[in-house]
């Protein structure tokens, strides 16, 4: 049977898309409230820090950030083709590298909190 790395990236895309479908609107809404000067209680330094310091909070942030990134990366690769960019190998390397860099960064930063 032919081997392909497609299932790995596709499952990350699907997982990220599902998580984004459920959580992205409400999370964006929280940041919109901050922009409007009505920051929710969670955004006070004490509460935000306590949330990110707890292992459950870290896990939540890690899952949201990395899965959103991998979802966006894979879909961006396909969409680049639809916009007429036909260098798929280069596009794939670029978007997946960016997502991988974001994943490493979020792990390192979350472990520092």
């Amino acid at each position: 049977m032919a081997k392909s790395n497609k299932p790995i990236f596709w499952s990350l895309f699907a997982a990220g898309g599902t998580l984004a479908a459920f959580l992205a609107p409400v999370l964006v809404l929280l940041f919109l409230l901050v922009a409007l000067g009505r920051a929710p209680d969670l955004f006070s330094y004490a509460q935000a820090h306590a949330f990110a310091a707890h292992w459950l909070g870290k896990l939540f942030l890690l899952a949201v950030i990395t899965l959103f990134l991998w979802h966006a990366a894979h879909r961006l690769r396909v969409t680049a083709h639809d916009f007429g960019l036909r260098q798929d190998a280069i596009v794939a390397v670029l978007v997946y590298l960016a997502a991988a860099a974001g994943t490493v960064m979020s792990v390192v930063l979350l472990l520092r909190i």
Binding site: V78, T79, M105, I113
Partner: protein, 130 residues
């Protein structure tokens, strides 16, 4: 083989303007740009949070204002578009079979919307939005 084969001209970069259906497809695809941008904003938030209180508060201050509100509103619109388009294809992505029959798609879609509302309310409650 005809000596002058018919070649349909299809623009590689503007084909999706040919039919509203193609435009709707592209509108779903480009939601990923905004989901990705929001992931970067979250990463930026975590970066500032890891640098202490002063950095966190300057991050929040920089986030305030009409332009970032407008940007977040656009991200919110595309995030909602991702949500509705994602849920509306769930009956095709994971059909539920009961014996010989399939559960009508509207129940699968409705269950997703219900869970979505519940999750959103939970997040708002947890974040202390009143």
């Amino acid at each position: 083989m005809s000596r002058r084969p018919f070649v349909r001209e299809v623009s590689k970069t503007r084909w999706y303007f040919k039919h509203p259906r193609y435009l709707r497809y592209m509108s779903r695809e480009i939601t990923c740009i905004f989901i990705g941008a929001f992931a970067l904003l979250l990463l930026c938030a975590v970066l500032h949070l890891s640098r202490g209180q002063a950095a966190w508060e300057s991050f929040l201050a920089a986030l305030q204002g009409p332009w970032s509100a407008l940007g977040l509103l656009v991200i919110l619109a595309f995030a909602l578009h991702n949500t509705t388009s994602w849920f509306n294809v769930t009956p095709k992505a994971m059909p539920v079979q009961i014996g010989e029959d399939f559960l009508p798609g509207k129940f699968i879609v409705a269950a997703h919307y219900l869970a979505w509302i519940l999750a959103s309310v939970l997040v708002l409650y947890f974040a202390g939005v009143r």
